[in-house]
Symmetry: C2
Subunit: 425 residues, 2 copies
């Protein structure tokens, strides 16, 4: 425990850490742990997906529909089946989108702003100030959607088993302006935790004051296990049906981190009633997403089981990278008391809480030494981490040797910032 050191010991440690820091800085590094993107080796896995449709005769779906031509708003049957199996819902509850699940989430909210959620309730845009619940730390692009659309954000702590449900239940029961809640229920971005069965059940059973309250269930890491035995997430749509709450649920996923982030397939699931309403509104919006890319994915992966097999190839590539990060944290910060983190069983991130008030300093120190991190605060609405402590580490993209060096430096910076703080206290 560094905190319990005397001022003299702290000064000595600071000297030593500064020497180490300077020696790394002198190397003129340019390393990047900021981006939750797959590395080249992961993208190379799916080479044969590129040419999964080669000839004119390959272009027909199971109904004989020519996927090159116009037609079909909500996805070809085999794509709906594949994504239904992955999301554990029925094909009638699925809408296939383009390549971006973020786009489907944005459109779902924009639709609610313009028309209301069901064609019955008032458009959100006409209800004055509306609010989303944001478990924190969370995903910056969720917060950007709310910020862009002028939606107020209220934070609740994301614990090891999910959001603080006492707070969530109280908020939605009391405040009719609360219309939505963001969730990344499995291998959450950035903390890597998975919602417990109890949390999912309590969410599914919510009794919101606003009848047009919606749960946004961004299941971005639904099959993104790092280890042989992945976390199990309860099926929220099934649970919600037990309470007549199925219209409250929007589920999203994509193959961005399965096939290609720049050319995958996204999908959403909801109650049959919501799906019918969304399709009606979608008719005015688009001629429908790229069907050949849907067919390409189905031909390549064939089944949900087929997709899961490919995920093992991904985890074989990225697991060693996570190990480098977690081993460095454990070895260098394990008994220092200056940081805490969660060992995730999947997903794309390691979330580290450094000493309160030190996250910005740590990220700045790293930047000065040539290591790019996700900005401190990015995991909170408006980029504002009230404790200035959370830093998101993205292990997947950098080469493993770069990651090792970056993590050595990260641990030095985490200690150095803490020591600086203790010395000032």
């Amino acid at each position: 425990m560094i905190k319990s050191m005397s001022k003299g010991e702290l000064s000595q440690l600071k000297e030593s850490l500064l020497r180490q820091y300077d020696s790394y800085k002198a190397r003129g590094l340019t390393l990047d742990m900021s981006r939750g993107k797959p590395c080249k080796e992961q993208l190379d896995i799916s080479e044969e997906l590129l040419s999964a449709i080669k000839s004119n005769n390959d272009c027909f779906d199971s109904n004989g529909m020519d996927c090159r031509n116009y037609g079909i708003l909500d996805g070809i049957p085999e794509a709906k089946k594949l994504f239904a199996d992955l999301m554990e819902v029925s094909p009638e509850e699925v809408i296939i989108g383009g390549n971006s699940s973020l786009n489907m989430m944005y459109d779902t909210i924009a639709r609610a702003m313009l028309f209301g959620v069901d064609g019955v309730s008032e458009p959100w845009d006409k209800q004055g100030k509306i609010t989303f619940i944001c478990p924190v730390p969370g995903y910056d692009r969720h917060f950007s959607v709310c910020e862009s659309l002028g939606i107020n954000m209220i934070t609740v702590p994301l614990n090891a088993d999910g959001p603080d449900m006492d707070m969530v239940e109280k908020l939605v029961a009391e405040d009719e302006s609360i219309k939505g809640m963001w969730n990344i229920p499995k291998y959450s971005n950035p903390t890597g935790i998975t919602y417990s069965d109890e949390v999912v059940r309590r969410l599914a059973a919510l009794k919101p004051k606003a009848k047009d309250f919606r749960i946004f269930w961004d299941n971005a890491y639904i099959i993104h296990d790092l280890n042989e035995t992945g976390d199990k997430l309860l099926n929220i749509l099934e649970e919600a049906k037990k309470y007549g709450n199925e219209d409250m649920i929007y589920i999203f996923m994509s193959t961005s981190k399965v096939s290609f982030p720049g050319a995958g397939v996204a999908a959403m699931a909801s109650s049959a009633k919501n799906v019918a309403y969304i399709k009606k509104k979608m008719f005015a919006q688009t001629i429908g997403p790229d069907k050949l890319n849907q067919l390409r994915h189905v031909r390549y992966y064939k089944t949900a089981e087929g997709v899961r097999k490919y995920m093992k190839k991904h985890s074989a590539i990225i697991k060693p990278r996570f190990d480098v990060v977690l081993e460095a944290l454990s070895k260098e910060l394990g008994d220092t008391g200056v940081a805490e983190w969660f060992n995730p069983n999947g997903g794309y991130f390691v979330s580290v809480n450094v000493e309160n008030g030190c996250a910005k300093r740590v990220v700045a120190l790293l930047k000065d030494a040539g290591v790019a991190m996700t900005g401190a605060g990015a995991t909170f609405p408006y980029g504002n981490d009230p404790d200035d402590r959370n830093i998101r580490i993205a292990p997947t993209y950098p080469p493993i040797e770069e990651l090792r060096i970056a993590m050595e430096l990260f641990c030095i910076c985490a200690k150095l910032a803490a020591v600086e703080k203790y010395l000032e206290a």
Copy 2:
């Protein structure tokens, strides 16, 4: 001129037409002239586009960006160049979308509803009733966008040289609620006319009362010539710059009828200022459209000239179909006085005005005999053709022999409905 016949002559003609009609009806036809879709032979042209990207090494754009991965909101550089050349604008004025230009139009309007057109003016959704000018006959999906978003539509006649500009100038000068105007300026859907230089200049020079008035320039048939010498359309963005009106212009196009309707690439163009604003709003909306499909298209077509070469293959396939339609109209209806139409030099449709009050009857007669047409009225807002006279013929999709039979029957029905009307008068 059938109209000048005596009642006796009309009765005789009716008898004869009914006999002909019944003989076609007895054949139990199932023919379809309703859909403006490319036929299978057209889709087969682009077989090699399917596998234009085969290997992992093929996936990098001209800047070395891995198109499989995240990044780039507005299109890879070579796609922006290609579409800029096609639209005769600069790459900085281009945003590449997904596969649907309708989706880009909808999003542009939805963005204006939610945020205003430029981040300065009031959101359209907060300005009470707003209105679009709709030249008629026009494209039903344009009208559906307005109807879905609750935007009022006011029609102006589409003449042989474009919309009635006296009316348009007067409307936008006087009515601040008029925020937009739909245009298909080249080979208009459905009439096939191209706006004259004077009409384009007058549009570019408009002095709208509403500072947030916008021209939606759906250049869907920008390179879709049927004959060797295509129509020339003046560049509206260039013209608008002469009047400081460049922010008033949104141009759209896609490869839906170049490569594949179900898996093409869409693009829009506008002033650099508008493009910057749209990109800012797009950041919250999406991680960006499919870059591999952009790359696939650029690798396959290479240049704008390359695209134009492929368009000759399309016209070689569909020109004979247009000829069947136009020859039947000319031969069977040419001197009857019961119909008028325009011989288009490109595009996807032939628009026929039958006798006033007869379009629904003609479409119904055809339907009863097994020939599906676009619904009468579909080319007007809310499906309401006040003269009940316009029928859209889509020649591209049906096999040529089917088209021949369907057109024989069409002409019989056009005459029959007119005779019925004259007899009742």
